[in-house]
Each structure stands twice: as structure tokens, then as C-alpha cells.
Amino acid sequence: MIKLEGLTKVFPGHNIPAVKELNLEIKEGDVCVLVGPSGCGKTTTMKMINRLYEPTGGKIYIRGEDALQMDPIKLRLDIGYVIQEIGLFPHMTIEENVATVPNEKQWPKDKTREKVKEVMTLVGLDPDVFKDRYPTALSGGQRQRVGVARAMVSDPPIMLMDEPFGAVDPITRARLQNEFLRIQERMGKTIVFVTHDIDEAIKMSDTIAVMREGELIQHDTPSDLLSAPADEFVSNLVGRNRSIKRLHLIRINEILEDVSRGKPLNEDAKKDDIEKQLAESDIRSVIVVDRDNKLKGVIGVNDLKRKAGEVARDYCQDVSDTITDDATLNDALSVMLEIGEGYVAVVNEDDRYQGTITLGDLLNVVKEDS
């Protein structure tokens, strides 16, 4: 889909090239993450793909076509672009912001409106609530979503993303990442993604390209990168605790079946049942759900003694936080540390209970791999 051949960029007034003889091929539908310390040339490489920077040497092919021979405006209109500071236009409403590329392409008004609605819903922003707001009225996370929606609205086959989730807090970032991966699963875009965060790279990517001082050091799948770093620089970058990093690679739904710990209690269950289940439980608690399999709460050993009641509903307490089944094991670990429990309840997109993950499960995964 995208092929870079001997790509070189020397900025005027500099002796050392910012990017040197870079060869890289990105397959259709892949997320390729460019990662490396600041100043390694990853952003420069990305900006040459949509020709915000003109290469001083080498070739760029997009679907076999020489990108350097194309009209840069036309080229950019077909490449979605998200930058770190998002760059939303402050004087335009969210709807107008998202409609930027359709307006440049002069789509009919109805089609634009329709598509804007669709893509806003896709990134989790209710169009009726947000479309007439101005960017200043949005939170950081919401702005990032608008940035992604704006890049996706014209359905470009290729997207360039420069630290798109950089400017938000870690929890919001994890959520945005998961949502983005869910969208990507459906859309199958070819994505070039720049980050300096190796954890994010491992989580988001199909392939990772590690760069240093303008050169490509290694281009591999995340698991190959973790198990066989090309040199010391790469192994330092991925860090010593590589097996823990694998937690980024595995999604909860991939292991949930293996760690199944029986059915949850119905909210109408009698005290005897509760006691029986509690005795079997390895987390000294049982999860309670309602008739629709929605999470009701949790009963710990002490709750049974402290409270009075007939059925499970009377004993159960609210859970502090849950996690969705498409999050990574690392996200699960974060939530456990956050709520201070050795387990976390997993729900799906519709809030139905799916199972429970414990610290022990995570340990087993790490052990198996190393």
C-alpha cells in the first residue's frame, strides 16, 4: 500500500539528514507504528508521506503510484491526518470541523451532513449533542475524538496519525486507544502512527518500525520485536521487563474462556448458594448479576456476616470500576491497581457481564510467555 524507497530528508542549513535512506513497506490494512526517541525522524518521515515536507531524495509509492508526481493537494485529500495538538479550527463548530475535507471536495450538502453524523457516532460523540459546539467547549478527550472523526470522514484508505492520543490523561488515552482499535478492526485502514511511547506502539500496531537518528533500525511485528530485538538500542527501548510488556499485546477476550470461574450469582440467589459459591471462589468474593446478565455488584466474605438479608441483592456492594473485554491485559492491571483489588469484572460493549480477571491470571500469562 505504502512503499518508501531510500527516502531521505535533509533540512536546509543542516548537515546531518533528518531521515536517511529509509526503506519501508506497509501492507494494506496494517497499522504501522513509527517509534523512537524525539528527533529520530519519525514525524519527518510521516510528513513526507503527505508531502508536508518534500523529500530531498528517494521515492514514495502509494498503491504503486509515485506520490511525488501527484498533486500534493489531491494526495492529501485522500490521506486522513491527525496531529498531536489536534489543530481543531477554533472558529468552526464541531460539525464544520469534521466536514472540512468533504467541503474541500465539494460533496453535496446532504451527503456531508449524513457522513459527519455517521463518523461522529463512530468515534463516540453524539452528533445531536456536539455538532453545534465550538472546540473550546470540549474536553481534551472529546477533542481527540473530533480530530479522529475529521480525518476519517471522507473514508480515506490511508491515515497518518502523529501522537493522536498524546495530550490526554493515561486513563482517557487507554479508552481512546481501545475504541480506535475497535473502529480499525471494522474499517481496516492502512495507518501510519507516530509515537514515542513504546507501550502504545506495542498495543496499537501490526508492525513496529523503530527509528534512531533518521535511520530505520528494525521493522517487525510487535511480538517479534519483543522476542528478538535487532540490537541493544531496540532492547533498551522495549525495556527489561519485556514479558510484562506482553500484557499490552493480549486482549482480555482472548484469555477470558481459559480463566472461566463459573457462573455469576443471580441477584435472587439464596444465602446458602452464596455461601457455597464464596467457599469455591479464589477471590473471596462473588459477582452478582441481574436477569439480563448486567452487573449488579459484588459480595465479599465479610459482607455476608456484616449485613442482614435474604437474597444476594441484599448483600451486594457496588463495584468501583469494570473493564471492557476488548481492553488489553495491561489495562486490566491498571484498573486493578487503581481500585486496589486483586480482580476486575469484565463487561462487553453492552455492559453485560463476561467474566472476571485476577492478578493470578495475569501472572500466568506472563509466565507462559517467558
Partner: protein, 240 residues
Amino acid sequence: MLRNIWVWVGIPLIMIGIAAAIVIYSVNNPTDSIVARMLTYERVFRVIREHMGLLLVSMTGATIVGVAGGIMLSRPSLYRIGRVMETIVNIGQTVPSLAVLALFYTILGLGFRVAVFALFLYSILPILRNTFAGIDGVEHNIIEAARGMGMHPLRILTRIELPIAFPIIVAGLRTAIVINVGAATLATFIGGGGLGDLIVTGLSVHRDMIIINGAVIAAVTAILLDYLIGKVEERVVRWA
């Protein structure tokens, strides 16, 4: 709606009404024969017409040249010159308006055209500076996002840079108008006519009534224009 009519029509009409009342009273009740001879409707209308002529011609020209110049200087190829220009404009604005008019008189002589030209040049300064500063102040990542999405440079200028800079450009226009209205009353000294005529005449024949008439009309004009553009300013920044 009612509020809008009040803001845009009501208050301005009241201001004009006050000025008109003073003029009508003074013309109909002259204190002596000198005032009667010097303060006529004909004369008042003439100086108002001249004054508006000075304002309109010089401000229109200054706005066109100032905005166009500011845009040109903000282009990457001329940006360095723009920076130098900023300093020159700042010094230029320090020069008092009377000095500017006087210097133009020594070069060009007396007359309406000279006054218009001096006012025109003097009013360019704030407009040019604010246009340049407004466009220059647009955040870099906004421009880059627009470029990266494939917007044409001309469209970036008209759809992104100018709208974002608009409040600052309007602020420049406001400064220019206030300076211009003030300086226009000085045009009389170099034969440019205008409301200053009434004031100067009144001073030379020692008739306060004539002085007050000129001063009131000039003041109302200035306050009204400043008020209106201030209201425009309030409305354009709804997104900030």
C-alpha cells in the same frame, strides 16, 4: 430582537438626537449677530459632509491597503519584512497626529486631498499591524492540520487564517477609526475642512456657542463609531 433594535438603532438615534437638538437650538437662538452669521444649517451640513468625506475616503483606503498589506506581509516569503515593518509601524504610531498632518502640509501644501492622504497613511498603521499580528498569531498546528488535510493555501487564508484573525483585525479597525476621527478634526489647520472648522472659527471669534456645536458633533461622531464597532467586536468572537 427588541434588544437588537435598541442596541443597533435606539442608542445611536438617541446620540444623534442629542447632537441635533443642540444644533437646532443654537441655530434658532443665536446669542448675537456673529453667531447668527457663522452658525447656519448650511455651514453645519457642509462641515459634517466634509468630515464624513475625510473619514470615509481615508478609512476605506486604509482598510483596503492595511488588510491587503497585512496579509501579504504574513506570507512566508515576506514574513521577515513583516517583522521589520511591525517595529516601524510601532514607531510611526508614536508620532502625534498633528505632527503627521503638519509634515504632510510642508510637503504637499494645503487642501482636502492632503488631509485625506495624511489620515489615510496614519490609519493604515494599526490596521496593517493588527492584520499581520492576527494572522501571525494563528497557531501553527491549526495551519498544519489544514495543510495536511489537503486545503489549498488560498482556502487556508480565507477559511482559517482570516476568520481566526478577524477579531484582532476588527480591534485594529477600531483603533484606526478612533485615531482617524480625532485627527480629522485637525484637518482644518491644513485646509482640509471638517468639524474642526467650527471649533477653530468659534475660538477665533470667541463665541462658545459655535465651539460647543463643533465639539458636540465631533464627539458624538467619535463615540457613536466607537460604540458601533465595539458592538461588532462583541458579536464576532462567539467561538472564543
